[in-house]
Amino acid sequence: MELNTQAAHQLSNLLKEGQINSQDIVDALYRRIKATESRVCAYVRLKDTSLPKLGYPQDGVLSGIPVAIKDNICTEGLVTQCCSRILEGFRPPYDATVIRKLKKEGAVILTPKTNMDEFAFGSSTENSFFGPTHNPWDLRCVPGGSSGGSAAAVAADEAILALGSDTGGSIRQPAAFCGVVGMKPTYGRVSRYGLIAFASSLDQIGPFAKDVEDAALLMNVISGYDSNDSTSVNVSVPDYSMSLTNDVKGIKIGIPKEYFIEGMDPEVKKIVQEAIDKLKQFGAEYREVSLPHTEYAVPVYYIIATAEASSNLARFDGVQYGLRTLANSPSGQLMEMYKKTRGDGFGAEAKRRIMLGTFVLSHGYYDAYYLRALKVRTLIKQDFDKVFADFDCIITPTTPTPAFKIGEKVKDPLKMYLSDVYTISANLAGIPAISIPCGFTKQGLPVGLQILAKPFAEEMLFRVAYTYEQNTNWHTAKPKV
């Protein structure tokens, strides 16, 4: 069996027993990448990257295991450009905290980075400067976004583990579309230092994995307080692998009625209901609950996230890094340089979001839009607080439909935004959430099950996810790419 098809925990055992070495795993991955990349396009700048460095600590929990990194996470000396023209050639002078932590545990940082929607603006990876990634389960379909490259790489066995970022569902939605495990930690659980910011009050880095055990392994490494991130929380990190127990007896699950609505794909509805019933067979109890402000989550998100994005992207001005377009006039004015650089460097979705964010923060509109959205964010959080007072977790579909075709939604921003409806609330409320595979449609497209829990209750997520996974086979299926 090819090493690239294995999970990290399986490879760790083989490495410890001395049956293989790290070079063997990297070689297997690169063979697979060479054979598949022309069709999947999970990685960017492949031709420009040299082979990854080996020889990190041998006694770490991830020693010898390669990890693929999304293009918005800073890797010292390695080009990191958020798949945007405006950051072309940018070599960060420092490693993101999560990268430092991975290296400390002996992980091999893969040098080609994974494809993404530019600056994480998107739900399909169609907004990348490098072109779209294709879903390994159906190459005509999107892998989801914005971490589509990371999800597709893991699904296609072009990666063992991967990191992504999730601001409104950008890990969970591609995980669902690609049939892999993806998790968004509690806000503040994982350091954002070195994550090129989209929306500072919503962003989190999280793991992609082939199974729940690997996701727990990666979460153990990347989680934890970081003094470099003033929004990181000083709460101790439990050993998440202790939560991998095959037992959900007595677990109370809330099923929000607002998530099972018209417009949802009937196959997705059926498959998710079957998954919930399966958990009931293992002793969990479920009841219908209400998250009454669910329908306001998408509008709230597209005010808050774009407002924060317009602020965070102000730094891309041609002065210190990336693209600089000079003014036409001989005097070369500063204002023109800013405007031309940003006009040339940003893609259409980036411009759209910056304009929207600028609008909702502008004089005369701030109260009606931004301030109002912050208040509704409070209401959305309170919905979850009320449910978690009586329930251990909430279960929903991750997405209302399976992966859509490339080109289907990219010209209609609003249609694209609505596909985030189930994932967005978790970012607004700061709660952790995981997506695991729970079936396939008749067309052979994966369907994801989302589990949500209260802040810092990732252990509950792992417990429920692991139980479901160990009693089903979805995670062993592989796409024929």
Binding site: P93, T231, V233, L323, M355, F359, R372, R377, K381
Partner: protein, 95 residues
């Protein structure tokens, strides 16, 4: 709600982005659609709700006011579009 061309141009100026006329046209329609959709927030009574600007109950997180390592100058200046030694070169600011 519709945004006038004048407002759009003003926003583009605030955002320091030069938009081509076709871009302004397309954006006008797309932003109108999104803002119409966002307007559903008006249905809610938020008069008694406090805003959440940050989801965590943390305030004024400060570090000790003591000097620490800084970024490596060579690596940092390596990204400069135009430089003169350790200085970034930019177009004249005060003309």
């Amino acid at each position: 709600m519709a945004i006038s061309q004048e407002t759009l141009k003003h926003l583009a100026h605030l955002a320091r982005i030069e938009l081509k006329p076709e871009e302004l046209d397309t954006l006008s329609g797309q932003l109108k659609d999104v803002l119409d959709f966002i307007d559903k927030l008006k249905q809610l009574d938020t008069s008694k709700t406090t805003p959440t600007s940050h989801i965590l109950p943390m305030n004024n997180v400060l570090r000790k006011d003591s000097p620490d390592k800084s970024l490596d100058i060579t690596a940092t200046m390596g990204n400069a579009p135009q430089k003169d030694g350790d200085f970034f070169v930019v177009p004249k600011i005060i003309v």
